[in-house]
């Protein structure tokens, strides 16, 4: 299966970098991750939750710490478990309206990263986990690509079933409620999707950069679109474009792929920002 895909890629991509399997894997992974991030990022930006997904990324460090303490080989399970708990806690506390939401998220975010550092440094070997901070898309294996593929399909299905309700809730929860939308259910569904997405992909993208990849394409698309349809299409296009271009540039520059991709996304953001400013005048 994977060999057929490789040979197809080699025929349509007659470039030097396409000779390496790790580059082909990385490219496949990006083609799967980019639309995922482009799609869900729109809702994160709509809900003003970019801080929240950032905190989730930080919580992954605690998840790894717990996994290392228990002694499991694959940190994915402990990360997902902790991120879900973390996410639902934040969303409950925000709901109770005792404190402003950015304060709550800020507190959780720093707790997540501090607890992770403490847990991982207890045995004296923090450096071996430092690759989680930056991530390494070039290390992705064909099995993991298959996993990403299924996650993409699952997210698209959910985005089919729940999107309209999510959008109404994000616009105004009272209004959505008056139309019979179970606002807190949809909020929790959304929070769970983001928690899963962030923790599953964090190994390849890295704790430091994951949020930029989630938020930047959607934020850029928002600068230049007026309807939900164009918003989503443009967000996915920006996400794919910056992913692929960033990966290729990183190959020639010898730089880290994640960072290069984020830089390309950031350039797109500033360009669209000025287009928006310019057009308004």
């Amino acid at each position: 299966m994977i060999n057929t895909i490789y040979s197809i890629m080699e025929t349509i991509l007659p470039f030097e970098w396409a000779n390496f399997n790790f580059m082909k894997n990385a490219l496949l992974a990006i083609i799967l991750i980019a639309p995922l991030f482009g799609l869900t990022g729109t809702m994160i930006v709509n809900n003003k939750m970019s801080f929240f997904s950032d905190a989730l990324g930080h919580s992954a460090l605690t998840g790894i710490g717990i996994g290392a303490l228990i002694g499991v080989d694959n940190y994915m399970v402990s990360m997902i478990g902790f991120a879900l708990l973390f996410a639902l806690c934040i969303s409950e506390i925000i709901e109770s309206e005792t404190s402003s939401s950015d304060t709550i998220i800020g507190v959780f975010s720093s707790t997540g990263i501090a607890l992770g550092i403490v847990l991982l440094s207890i045995n004296g070997g923090f450096s071996k986990y430092s690759n989680y901070l930056i991530g390494d898309i070039l290390s992705i294996t064909p099995n993991e690509i298959a996993l990403l593929f299924f996650i993409l399909i699952a997210t698209i299905i959910l985005w089919f079933l729940a999107f309209n309700k999510l959008m109404l809730s994000s616009l105004n929860s009272d209004l959505a409620y008056s139309k019979g939308v179970n606002v807190s259910l949809y909020k929790n569904i959304f929070v769970i999707i983001i928690a899963l997405l962030v923790t599953v992909t964090i190994k390849w993208i890295g704790i430091m950069l994951i949020n930029s990849l989630l938020v930047l394409p959607a934020a850029s698309a928002r600068n230049v679109t007026r309807s939900m349809k164009s918003y989503h299409i443009i967000s996915i296009i920006f996400s794919l474009f910056s992913g692929v271009t960033g990966l290729i540039i990183s190959y020639y520059w010898g730089s880290a792929a994640g960072g290069t991709i984020v830089l390309v996304s950031a350039v797109i953001f500033f360009v669209t920002f000025f287009i928006n400013r310019f057009c308004k005048k």
């Binding site: 105004n172 019979g180 309807s227």
Partner: protein, 259 residues
């Protein structure tokens, strides 16, 4: 004869004839009592205005009626046959006081209507039928040209009309309006209230509205209630100004009262 009766029945079913009855409703936030022992009945065809000082609990009462916030006591919806309708099956039309949302949000009016009425995710497209229905109801409020505008670019008055249209699709069993004219100019206000009055005569749904303007209340509402933690008094809207409590709440003292 039977035929005519059938027709009338059909008509009555299409037109909402439901009413709402609120029994000893109370709302607490933490230890603060916001509303207590509220008893209120609004029948079909009535426009009930809730008046009172800021923070008297008017908006909270509306939210409690639609079930958005936890409360004690009960809110009962009754259909045209006098039977109870389950609260979850009652169609509520709600127009919020202000819609606080991010003005840069890329949502068009069409997106808004289709997100509510169709399963097809609006980022993939809109259904023609739904758009037609939306256009029809937007036409009722004089906003048919706004269908493809993004909601962040609407003026305050335009947004309020769009929100009223949104509340009317599907036609609700009860209409709750929270200071619906706060963003309208004078012409907009009378147009808005004339529309609400015509809805009442056409569809007979009970309408509850919160208002600060006693002029609007006496002109357009049928009944009015003074709210201050509870329902202080209820009267026919035209008579509401004659009550001492209302005068006090709105600082309308005549020379006699001052002496």
């Amino acid at each position: 004869m039977a035929d005519i009766n059938n027709k009338i029945n059909k008509l009555n079913k299409n037109n909402c004839r439901c009413s709402v009855k609120i029994n000893s409703l109370g709302v607490k936030r933490g230890d603060n009592v916001i509303l207590k022992d509220v008893n209120l009945e609004v029948k079909h065809g009535e426009i009930m205005a809730l008046i009172g000082r800021n923070g008297a609990g008017k908006t909270t009462l509306l939210k409690a009626i639609m079930g958005r916030i936890p409360h004690t006591g009960d809110v009962v919806f009754i259909n045209h046959n006098g039977d109870k309708i389950e609260n979850s099956k009652t169609k509520i039309g709600y127009v919020p006081q202000t819609l606080s949302f991010d003005r840069s949000t890329p949502v068009t009016v069409a997106d808004l209507f289709c997100a509510n009425r169709t399963k097809l995710p609006v980022w993939l497209g809109h259904k023609k039928e739904t758009l037609k229905k939306a256009e029809k109801v937007l036409h009722m409020v004089g906003a048919e040209k706004l269908l493809n505008k993004s909601i962040g670019r609407l003026s305050g008055g335009e947004l309020q009309r769009v929100l009223l249209a949104f509340a009317l699709e599907p036609m609700p069993d009860i209409l709750l309006l929270d200071e619906p004219v706060s963003a309208l100019d004078r012409r907009g206000i009378s147009a808005f209230y004339e529309l609400v009055t015509s809805l009442r005569s056409e569809y007979h749904m009970p309408i509850i509205l919160v208002s600060h303007d006693l002029g609007h209340v006496t002109r357009y509402a049928t009944k009015a209630s003074l709210v201050d933690e509870t329902i202080v008094l209820t009267d026919i809207a035209k008579n509401i100004l004659s009550h001492k409590e209302v005068k006090q709440a709105f600082h309308l003292y005549s020379g006699e009262d001052l002496a």
